[in-house]
Symmetry: C2
Subunit: 353 residues, 2 copies
């Protein structure tokens, strides 16, 4: 049996404690500074308020100031903070990690440097902890279609564990695998992460069709959910996701499997990013969605559109990419940054499919 | 302006008359022997009863006995019959086609011979009309995500026109293209058709998750729509679709675009095959769905599972395929042919992704 410390008490990290506890591992949850109420709730009532479930009573929850104690003797360190917290995670791991531990990341996204070069988040975290510590621990991540609440109620969920060494991901997979949590492994770290990082971008566009339907007045039009448009956008998302694989390196066959269209499918089926896209589809400028209708709501997909869209524009300016590439992403960038109305650039879609 | 005769008065064929009429082409609809009421409705009231819309008043509708008159002088012959009517279409075209006409098929599916060799439907129709006539006309088809009703109310729809000659598909695309009907072209006939033919198979499985939810009693479980499972099945569908591309020939990059995951996305979002899968997911044996709950309902996806699943089993028996290939299709075949309960073979999924 291993000891797992979870940094971040969000719903995905907490959901992952269910297979871990089913397999008898020791689990410690450490909340971030934003998770104080969640940790207190688990400590006093056992209930995770956002997941709305009682966590396993054997789990110990720690406030951040007790993190050192929680990390003591842990075999696995799970980073369950969302993409906005990636720098913070790097700082915390730099002070808390101990040589020989395995870092398992569930944070998804990409960062970009000044020139628009993109990087998967595990690599960003690795840089943050410094070379010596980076080389004295192992690195892995979980990707694939997972709604946290479904995993926590033990509904079938199929994912990929990726990492730098096969023996490490095999060990992790053995720890988490149950009859409802189905796990595949790969050492194609970048390939597995690219889909996970870019799917949120296209999930935002998955809301457009429903939004357009909401504003239609005509009765015959109202009958239809604009699924043709949603499917067409999904397909262009897959085309652009494939281009990301080419750009960043990684096995492009992942596009057609769990880490690619699988993860994009579940992400496009609902959630906050899709809801934001629905508002835009119904004719609301994005700034109004951000500042009023969905004020304060974390929108990882929109953030990815800003970060990755900006990087792609820089790469086009530098001549690394052709001006016609990533037409959907570039349009989504206009929508969230410049408040542009939806006007899909159909003529630029599906090149090189 | 061209003259288009449409054989089969179904909803998809009729929906395609909207862009044609918007572009000013002459359109004649010929009903099959099963379409008598539809043709009469169009003739007397202008309304297509299944589409629940008034068709363009310039369209002439013919009963089957007047087909020869309708075919006279037509440039384009659109075959809009569903996959169950493919032999019938072959017979009709054999007597009605005239040299120089272009056949444009919207029928999707595959046929198999005694040994389990698979063939796309346009090739089956071509064989049926005989070699001389086959070589004196042109052949093309439409694939991609299209719900007929959405096209008919002029909602954005993106498709691929495929055929044997680029100049023929270009001509057809120019005839149909409007500001809501977005068309790409390819001469990769098989590649474009394979996705269209196999997506229905996997749409059946897209209903399982919702069905499983329906039978769950526990309140926490009820909150979740089993989207993780649905996405995982979608991903395995994409993996198997890719294998079909390898088997039948055709550009595998189509898997990640409109004719592949795009079409599978819209098909998995709803419709009769998904509904049948939902019943099975809720625990009803398929024979009861077929003979009672959905008696008389046309299920093209289920038919594809029977035909293609049988063919794949024969290819495995002959050693053309490995025993572990197409695990999802083989399980769907057990479900619809042997009344097997759902028991997804997770361990066999995602090989070679």
């Amino acid at each position: 049996m291993s000891t797992v410390v979870v940094l971040g008490a969000g719903i995905m990290a907490t959901a992952l404690t269910f297979p871990l506890r089913d397999n008898g591992h020791e689990v410690r949850i450490v909340g971030t500074h934003l998770d104080r109420d969640i940790v207190e709730s688990i400590q006093t009532t056992g209930r995770h308020p956002d997941l709305d479930l009682i966590v396993d009573p054997e789990i110990t929850a720690y406030q951040l100031e007790d993190a050192e104690k929680a990390f003591e003797g842990a075999d696995i360190v799970m980073s369950g903070v969302n993409s906005f917290g990636v720098e913070w995670v790097g700082e915390q791991l730099a002070r808390l990690l101990k040589p020989g531990q395995i870092v398992l990341s569930v944070t998804k996204g990409m960062t970009a440097d000044e020139e628009g070069n993109l990087e998967i988040l595990p690599h960003t975290i690795q840089r943050a902890v410094g070379e010596e510590l980076r080389n004295s621990v192992e690195w892995a991540a979980i990707v694939g279609p997972s709604i946290a609440g479904e995993l926590a109620v033990r509904h079938d969920t199929a994912v990929v564990f990726c990492g730098e060494k096969q023996e490490v991901v095999d060990k992790l997979a053995d720890m988490f695998r149950t009859d409802y949590y189905h796990i595949w492994t790969t050492t194609d770290f970048v390939g597995a992460e690219v889909g996970a990082a870019t799917k949120n971008i296209y999930a935002f566009a998955a809301g457009f069709g429903e939004g357009m339907q909401l504003k239609e007045g005509d009765e015959a039009n109202q009958r239809y959910r604009r699924l043709n448009l949603t499917a067409a956008v999904f397909a262009q998302g897959a085309v652009e996701m494939n281009r990301f694989y080419e750009l960043l390196g990684g096995d492009p066959s992942m596009v057609r499997s769990l880490p690619g269209v699988g993860d994009m499918h579940v992400t496009a089926a609902g959630g906050r990013n899709v809801r934001a896209g629905t508002h835009v589809g119904s004719g609301v400028p994005f700034s109004e969605v951000r500042d009023s209708l969905m004020k304060g709501v974390t929108l990882e997909g929109v953030n990815a559109i800003v970060v990755v869209g900006e990087a792609i524009k820089k790469q086009i300016d530098r001549g690394v990419l052709e001006p016609h590439e990533f037409p959907l992403l570039r349009h989504l960038h206009e929508i969230v940054v410049d408040d542009a109305p939806i006007n899909l650039p159909w003529d630029e879609f599906y090149r090189g499919y």
